[in-house]
């Protein structure tokens, strides 16, 4: 593949790499696995890139490929011990405008999201990324009504995890 295409791709990936990092953070529990998944997502994006015609935004296209890689293609290494690295689970934001209590709430909620299964995580992720139900449904390949119903169930589930 040509150098020009490669440069163009790296530029776009660089601008949007935070999306991939957010997905990796959600689906893995340590730095090593995080990098593993990031690499696999990059490989899959690059492989699919020649077919990307710009009908949709790069980031929209990226959501689909990256989530598909995390849910479907990526093989979690079973050799690693499944311990939750508390540091990486913690939710951090740029400015500490929020008071401590609220921050604690957010950390707790993020921890709860990490306990969801792969599919639920994907729905929550798209919801948090401010995608509407039509986009969520299209990405997952389910109907809009079902996406909505499932999202409501997930919200209940999250509340139950936080307040047992």
């Amino acid at each position: 593949m040509s150098k020009k295409l490669e440069q163009e791709f790296v530029k776009q990936l660089n601008e949007n790499q935070n999306i991939v990092h957010k997905i990796c953070r959600l689906y893995t529990n340590d730095q090593h696995a995080h990098n593993d998944l990031f690499q696999e997502v990059t490989v899959q994006l690059w492989r699919a890139y020649p077919k990307f015609r710009g009908d949709s935004k790069f980031s929209t296209w990226m959501y689909r490929v990256a989530l598909n890689t995390a849910i479907t293609l990526y093989r979690k290494s079973t050799r690693r011990v499944k311990t939750q690295d508390y540091e990486s689970v913690q939710f951090k934001i740029e400015d500490q405008q929020e008071d401590d209590e609220q921050m604690e709430q957010l950390t707790l909620l993020y921890g709860a999201v990490k306990q969801l299964n792969d599919i639920e995580k994907a729905l929550v992720f798209l919801y948090l990324e401010d995608k509407n139900y039509r986009e969520i449904a299209e990405t997952m390949g389910i109907s809009e009504v079902n996406a909505r119903v499932k999202m409501n169930r997930i919200k209940t589930k999250l509340t139950n995890i936080i307040n047992p």
């Binding site: 730095q31 696999e40 990059t42 093989r75 400015d95 909620l109 948090l128 919200k155 999250l158």
Partner: protein, 213 residues
């Protein structure tokens, strides 16, 4: 206010210790090979295709085969051989077209569907081969046993006289059991390989399917 919406409000400003990659690092990542399950499915399929092709070739060139050609007759022997390879080529075509359909740009559910379809093709391929080996093996034994000099010699021993039919059935039964054990072992190996590889995918696929009900 919905708790998830509080998280959503702060979602875009999240940070972490995860270092951002530089352009050079990202370029480096492009050269890496995939370690995903689709690549493994492809490798396993190649192994399966070649394994059965080799088994076929070996049996074709063994000494015993010359005997079976005589006994079966050339048209029947070569006919079954040609048919066998036509079916294998058909399977390779089917596998390849399924494999080409696996694209990460599809909606998640259809992506999973195409992966499972590829696996199903390989399952049918294995089944076809096992049944082919079984049927051919049984026909061969049925023809070969009464004509094998060692068996004929055994039949002439004083113990066997009068019990020929029982002996034939015993030989036939032993062959059948051997083939059956072979099939079961291969099936278990198959289940194990794909089970490990696709366990997570199947679980996620079922989860998506459950949503649709």
């Amino acid at each position: 206010m919905d708790q998830l919406d509080i998280l959503k409000k702060n979602w875009q400003s999240q940070t972490s210790e995860t270092p951002q990659f530089t352009s050079d690092q990202l370029t480096g990542l492009l050269a890496k090979k995939s370690t995903g399950i689709v690549k493994w499915l492809f490798i396993i399929a190649i192994i399966e295709f070649s394994l059965f092709a080799i088994v076929g070739l070996f049996s074709h060139f063994s000494d015993q085969q010359q005997e079976s050609i005589e006994l079966l007759g050339q048209p029947l022997y070569y006919g079954s051989l040609i048919l066998h390879y036509v079916v294998i080529i058909f399977f390779i075509y089917l596998f390849y077209s399924n494999y080409k359909n696996i694209s990460t740009e599809q909606p998640t559910r259809s992506l999973m569907k195409s992966i499972l379809k590829t696996r199903r093709t390989m399952k049918w391929y294995i089944w076809y081969n096992l049944i082919y080996i079984m049927v051919l093996g049984m026909i061969m034994s049925a023809i070969l046993i009464p004509n094998d000099p060692r068996v004929v010699h055994l039949m002439e021993s004083p113990n066997a006289v009068g019990h020929e039919t029982a002996f034939y059935f015993m030989f036939f039964g032993i062959c059948f059991v051997i083939f059956l054990v072979l099939c079961v072992v291969m099936y278990l190996i198959y289940m194990l390989i794909y089970g490990i590889l696709l366990r997570r995918l199947k679980r996620n696929y079922n989860e998506l399917k459950r949503m649709e009900v």
